[in-house]
């Protein structure tokens, strides 16, 4: 295992987004704050919370989950599609790292971006509303797994999609609807039973609920089930991303 190589590629990818930190780290936090302001103050008073918690307390873990996964997802897409355009992909394929090692660097860097945005969002939310932080270790575990899944998905999409237009189409038509219908802005318990059942077919529901359970101590689904879904999704997505780098799928001629 070439650990120095993995770390170097990780460092390069982290530098890619920290160089433009206002766009990659601050802008998503501002979006979350706007959600908090609009949803929390305008409709928060009338909307249902969960258990003893207010709507605002329900919303913050949802926004944290959204910050974690959207930023983890977008980082490798930008990096890989630009690399294909600028031919930067050639030196990447020439360096002596295995597919697993390249995936580790890319996914690690994207996770870092997601975790930074998620942490800032949580800190800002906690400054507005008291949060119990019921299971802090679980929160860390879920955050890592969740960003890991979406970083891996970002790698898969970044490799597979030839341009930004098609990559963003997938985000608009698949990821964002699944995320919004996965309980970011509400508890699925508040939905009619048919929709509540349908929500449970959405894998993002378990990811959002795992974060909510970790912060509030209450959620819509048993913790073990959320954790199980998250671990399986992570293993699957990471495996596919590693395989793509190893075989050069859509990268090598």
């Amino acid at each position: 295992m070439n650990w120095l190589g993995v770390y170097t590629l990780y460092r390069k990818e982290v530098k890619r987004f920290t160089q433009i930190w206002t766009q990659t780290l601050i802008a998503p936090v501002i979006s979350s704050v706007l959600y908090l302001a609009v949803f929390g103050t305008v409709i928060g008073a009338r909307a249902a919370g969960i258990g003893d918690f207010s709507y605002l307390q329900l919303l913050i873990p949802g926004l944290v989950a959204m910050g974690l996964l959207m930023n983890a997802y977008q980082a490798p897409i930008g990096s890989l599609i630009i690399a294909k355009y600028t031919n930067e992909i050639v030196p990447l394929l020439m360096i002596p790292l295995t597919g697993f090692e390249i995936a580790l660097s890319y996914i690690g860097a994207a996770m870092t971006r997601g975790l930074i945005v998620g942490a800032i969002t949580l800190a800002v939310g906690a400054a507005f509303v008291p949060l119990p932080f019921a299971h802090p270790l679980l929160l860390i575990l879920f955050s890592f797994l969740l960003t890991g899944i979406f970083s891996s998905l970002g790698v898969i999409i970044g490799i597979t999609m030839p341009d930004f237009d098609r990559a963003s189409m997938l985000q608009t038509f698949v990821i964002t609807p699944l995320l919004y219908l996965g309980g970011v802005f509400y508890s699925v318990q508040s939905l009619p039973s048919v929709f509540s059942m349908a929500s449970r077919l959405n894998p993002l529901f378990y990811l959002v609920d795992g974060i909510r359970m970790s912060i509030l101590g209450v959620g819509d689904t048993p913790l073990a089930l959320s954790l199980g879904v998250v671990v399986v999704c992570f293993a699957l997505c990471f495996g596919v991303a590693s395989w793509m780098f190893q075989t050069g799928y859509k990268l090598k001629s």
Partner: protein
Amino acid sequence: MNAAIKLEDVKKTYPAFRGRPPVEALKGITFEIQQGEFFGLLGPNGAGKSTLINMLAGVTRKTSGKASILGVDIDADPSGSKKLIGVVPQELSFDAWLKVGDTIDYQFGYYGQPVDVAWRNEVMERLSLADKMNDKPRALSGGMKRRYMIARAMIHKPKILILDEPTAGVDVELRHEMYALLRELNEKGTTIVLTSHYLEEVELLCQRVAIVHKGSLVALDNKHALKDRFKSTRIFSIALTEPLKVCPAVLERFKPECVDSELKLTFEENEYQAVLKAVSEANLSVANFRVIEPTLEDVFLSLTV
């Protein structure tokens, strides 16, 4: 001792794409490059040189055959074989948003090495890039970009350096500085594989030359042997003190061509004695003369056109 590069019946076929038929870029290439060689790989555009290099670099998959680098099979241990080589690809490629110095330093890390500041500074100095460390690669001129790519390929001190058109766009003076650096590396034991459209460059630097044409190896030999084998004709070029009015009959067998005051006689390499005797008998007023030997370009053209 393992060959630096060993190719056994290497084939590459690009699949059919959007109505275009499949393209056989390499039709079963077999040859070896020995350790310590300065090796030239020639061929016209589309001959398969870059496909071969990209395959060794891990950028292109081969369809069949075996390839190894210093005994390390590129399929069985791709990371291991990549560690042994440094490749300057033909197409410019770089991280546009990073500084030149950063990308060079990262290169050490990718190969599992700590940054060797003294060596980095030496390489950048020798390639006239020392003052460009804080610039972005895209801000460099075309020739500087090429030199930057050479620096990136050699910074981890590879045992084999493969350069695909490294001097395209580099001015004459810097090109010669680059030759000196490559020669020095070769003298210290680095195997160098060079492809270039400047045939005089290959002739100047390389010991053995392979010529690839339409995906097949059409010649592989020492450059002198190649020239002797494929082109035994010589030109005896004479500068006269005044133009010839009538060409002497004694010179007729050497197909004389007279332009102004220059007379050119064509002869075979075993006719030196005969041509000298004929020139002497013709009683010409000679200002000076020279014998033009065949060049690699003549060999190249005879095999590929």
